[in-house]
């Protein structure tokens, strides 16, 4: 149900979720307590937004919120809402700013259809939902309809990216255009209709390219509400640098095509990368924490001792001492991971 919410309500989620770790680990069905708290917060934000727009009824809102409050993991939440049927008032969706331009196409494509939605999770299992769309109301529930007119296929990673994107509506658009969310009509007439929709969405993408679509030239964009520049690293990876940077801090954010944070590097590291890219993999020099944060974490006395040895190194005895102290200290702390 949560994934379905992400698919349908992503445009309404305007907040910022910056859990790089969660993203890198993927959303496993055995989400950790910390990740669950983050997910719970996000789901609640989506839910509140959907409720404030009167897209679902108060009764459905209460049912989902209660299930959310009572769950201690994503698994538990999914199981508790699987049996629910939620009514979605589509007219409200079409009226929203995000959908205004394409509301006609969406209405024409998905109005009065019986839709099965298949979401492949990272553990390989498939969540099945269905939506019976009757004019302005869509009834969502778990399971499959026996005679669908449209099938929609998505995967967990894509939905999570949409949810975590700085611009979920654009992310949804990118996923549809790039085929990360696939939809197919059942029967010739529906197949033709969906093919036309696909072509129209590409045409729409042609005139309204995603802000995260990158070219060889630097591009001015808004990221997290700030003026920023989108560029391509020497290894072909998208990154964003803020125009109002803090002096001495040259952190840049690595993002994907959906505008999700994937990692960090620095402008100086990019300069170092530029010198020779041949031997490097695309993940070279991309870290899960920004330099400014890593610097703040270093408070170990062992490190101070190693640094002293490095400054004073005169002979092989010092070399061995440096190597031993470093090895056992790093083994112990795994380079201070998750301080």
């Amino acid at each position: 149900m949560i994934l379905l919410f992400v698919l349908l309500f992503a445009p309404y989620y305007g907040g910022t979720l910056t859990s790089v770790n969660a993203q890198q680990n993927g959303m496993s069905s055995s989400t950790s307590a910390v990740n669950w708290e983050e997910d719970k917060e996000t789901i609640l934000k989506v839910l509140n937004k959907v409720k404030s727009k009167e897209i679902i009824s108060d009764k459905d809102y209460e049912k989902i919120r209660d299930a959310l409050e009572e769950s201690d993991s994503l698994d538990a939440f999914i199981s508790s809402v699987d049996s629910l049927t939620v009514e979605v008032y589509l007219e409200r969706v079409y009226e929203s700013q995000s959908f205004k331009i394409i509301a006609g196409i969406v209405k024409w494509t998905f109005g009065n259809e019986k839709i099965n939605i298949y979401i492949t999770l990272e553990n390989g299992s498939v969540l099945k939902f269905c939506a019976d769309v009757q004019d302005a109301v869509a009834e969502l529930k778990e399971g499959e309809l026996p005679n669908p007119t449209i099938n929609i296929y998505a995967n967990e990673g894509t939905l999570r990216s949409i949810m975590e994107s700085d611009d979920p509506f654009t992310a949804l658009q990118v996923a549809l255009i790039d085929g990360d969310i696939k939809y197919e009509g059942v029967g010739i007439a529906n197949a033709v209709k969906l093919a036309l929709t696909s072509t129209l969405s590409k045409a729409y993408g042609f005139f309204n390219p995603s802000p995260f679509e990158v070219t060889d030239e630097a591009k001015e964009i808004k990221y997290k509400g700030e003026e920023a520049t989108l560029k391509l690293s020497p290894k072909g990876v998208r990154y964003v640098e803020f125009q109002s940077g803090i002096e001495g801090n040259d952190d840049v954010i690595i993002i994907d095509k959906y505008g999700c944070e994937r990692g960090y590097t620095t402008k100086r590291n990019l300069k170092l990368m530029q010198t020779d890219t041949e031997e490097l993999t695309p993940a070279a020099g991309i870290y899960t924490k920004p330099l400014s944060e890593l610097k703040a974490e270093n408070t170990f006395t062992e490190v101070a001792e190693i640094r002293r040895l490095m400054r004073e190194m005169r002979n092989s005895t010092t070399s061995i001492s440096i190597m031993n102290k470093t090895f056992y200290f790093i083994m112990k702390t795994k380079a201070f991971s998750h301080i």
Binding site: L272, R307, M313, A335
Partner: protein, 145 residues
Amino acid sequence: MMKRKGTIIMFTAFFVALVFGLLYEMCATNPEVEENIEIREENTQLYAALVAVGIEDAIVDITDERALIRFNLPNNLNKEATWYYIMSASAAIAPETDKIIIQTYENYERREEVTVNTTDVIALINGSITMEEFQKMLKVSDSKN
């Protein structure tokens, strides 16, 4: 009459959409962009170890085969001491790699490249080999520029 008009509109819409869809495909002269980056936690761990001793400008790139560390030497650090530190930190964080490759830069100019087997670093730390033997196993090559 109305039905015919509807069909014409539908065909026109389809044709226009088809043209723009094709245009989109043809005009999309995007550069090669890496869409699937597998970010390794070990890269961050080793980078954190480098940052701890003052090496902030560094590219860490660990694969199953090798750990490649490219760094710009800070003014206040001894070059050889830095190599030993990096070798040791890399062997601790990525012991399964075959090789450790350290590319030294000064003022962003390429200098020496040091290559060593990870097992040799561990052997030295375990005391299975002496420093003298270990130094013979190090391959130090000059700048290729």
